[in-house]
């Protein structure tokens, strides 16, 4: 990703807004943008979702492949999660091999899903040591107006929840739903104008400092954390955003359940 020059004016403006507890687009500090979730919108994918958060738009598609289980885990299938931010998504995203930014994006979303244990990799085994399903979750950004992390995570878990194992096409029995035992949800906080806000948009990211990504599962269990970018934060600051993440993750989980069906 090309690094845009950030004017000192933008940073000063964000600082001033923060001092009045305001944000660029009029939102409250912990308020997210309007979020829309659609499912089953990619006819060639075995599971799919589209998430719109303000002007940020992403797709998630699930495909399955047969794999040979790893020798040390003969009874398990696999999960692969790739995030691609191609130059279609914004003027600062560049073509070429994956940037450090998009590698981090993919790995942080991947960990949140993987570490929650929501997919029982043992249930993906077809013949121990010989054949198992590999779940491939592809995250694809169409429009980046900030906070791709949460948009990807939300689209990703929704796409998985709608996915169907294409057993018939691969001639290994009848098609069946991919079972998810829980719904890990990521909430991201960005330090803007010297205080953390939820769901920063692109301009806030541009004039901001560090960001913190929290993935919570059922009963507020923590499954994944990541601090990104240059910046220092205190234990008190962290406690505050963790509290907020507990609330917001519950709301987003409700959204997924209402759209996909529990």
């Amino acid at each position: 990703m090309a690094i845009p020059l950030v004017s000192k004016l933008l940073r000063a403006h964000l600082l001033e807004l923060a001092s009045k507890d305001e944000r660029l687009d009029g939102r409250g500090r912990w308020e997210g943008r309007e979020t829309n979730l659609e499912i089953d919108i990619l006819p060639r994918a075995e599971g799919s979702a589209k998430v719109t958060m303000g002007d940020t738009i992403v797709y998630a598609g699930v495909k399955f492949q047969l794999m040979k289980p790893y020798p040390d885990r003969p009874n398990e299938g696999g999960l692969m999660c790739g995030a691609e931010v191609r130059p279609v998504a914004g003027r600062n995203w560049e073509p070429g091999p994956p940037s450090a930014e998009s590698i981090e994006l993919g790995r942080v979303v991947d960990r949140g899903i993987r570490e929650s244990g929501c997919i029982d990799v043992k249930s993906l085994c077809i013949i121990p040591g010989e054949k198992a399903w590999q779940v491939i979750l592809d995250l694809f950004a169409i429009s980046d107006d900030g906070n791709l992390f949460d948009a990807f995570a939300l689209a990703g878990i929704a796409a998985l929840k709608t996915a169907t194992l294409p057993c018939e096409r691969f001639e290994v029995g009848q098609d069946q739903k991919l079972e998810l035992s829980s719904l890990p949800i990521m909430c991201s906080y960005h330090k803007v104008g010297n205080r953390f806000v939820y769901d920063a948009n692109y301009k806030e990211e541009l004039g901001g400092d560090e960001r913190i990504h929290i993935t919570l599962g059922e009963d507020d269990h923590v499954h994944s954390l990541q601090k990104g970018l240059k910046g220092i934060f205190s234990a008190e600051e962290f406690v505050e955003i963790m509290e907020k993440a507990k609330d917001t993750s519950k709301e987003l989980r409700k959204l997924v359940n209402s759209v996909v069906g529990e």
Partner: protein, 239 residues
């Protein structure tokens, strides 16, 4: 071109498996403004094809060595999303995508008035979200709509259509099954105002007579598709 001619793709009434006549085009929709952060954009569905195009620019071309003193540089990329086909496509370098990007760029360079923006760059990003058959035609057509939506001056829009041959019969706008068993494919990029050509490829086997028929079908279809493009731009306005 597979050329397995034992499957009947056209019935006794001259209708194709999806009910179209030889000259019918698949259903088409166009929506502009679908990438809010871009300077111009559109989504085009054409049969089951689903293609999104974003345009960025004109903006400063850098590094400076790619700048042209007398005109803008056009930077066109065609790409298929990993989930756009039945078998997943691995991200990364791909000879087919590189070639389609190049011929699409060549076609668009023929109509975009690049001389109006010296030393600048215009980026055209074509993303195939769902592929059926004829994605290069959909991409090129949608790209000219997105350029218009971005307010980039052009001498004309480009309409791209492909005709082909199945069961020894020439038909317009092959769908996926027809493409799998087809014996030839002739995609063209046509300027609807002058009838001139900016894009042409073909492979397979066509006699001179069949070739002429396929050519004529493409030109006729281009005028129909052009109407839908104009309508979408009227509705969506220019960014």
């Amino acid at each position: 071109m597979g050329g397995y001619g034992d499957i009947e793709m056209i019935d006794e009434n001259g209708l194709r498996m999806d009910g179209r006549t030889a000259t019918d085009v698949r259903p088409i929709t166009i929506e502009t403004g679908v990438v809010p952060v871009a300077d111009g954009s559109c989504r085009m569905t054409w049969g089951t094809n689903d293609v999104i195009v974003a345009v960025y620019g004109p903006m400063e071309a850098h590094p400076r060595k790619i700048q042209r003193q007398d005109r803008a540089v056009l930077d066109v990329r065609y790409n298929m999303a990993p989930f756009s086909t039945t078998d997943r496509i691995r991200p990364g370098f791909n000879r087919r995508s590189r070639e389609i990007s190049k011929v699409t760029s060549d076609a668009l360079e023929s109509v975009v008035l690049l001389e109006m923006y010296p030393r600048s760059k215009i980026r055209v990003e074509i993303e195939v979200i769902c592929a059926e058959a004829g994605t290069r035609c959909v991409g090129l057509t949608a790209a000219s709509v997105a350029l218009a939506h971005a307010g980039i001056p052009m001498s004309d829009l480009v309409v791209s259509v492909a005709s082909g041959k199945i069961n020894d019969i020439v038909v317009c706008d092959l769908n996926k099954e027809e493409d799998n068993y087809g014996e030839a494919d002739l995609p063209m990029g046509i300027l609807p105002n002058s009838g001139e050509i900016v894009f042409l490829q073909m492979d397979g086997d066509l006699s001179q007579e069949e070739f002429q028929t396929a050519w004529d079908y493409n030109v006729a279809a281009a005028y129909e598709v052009h109407k839908i493009m104009i309508e979408a731009l009227k509705n969506g306005g220019v960014n």
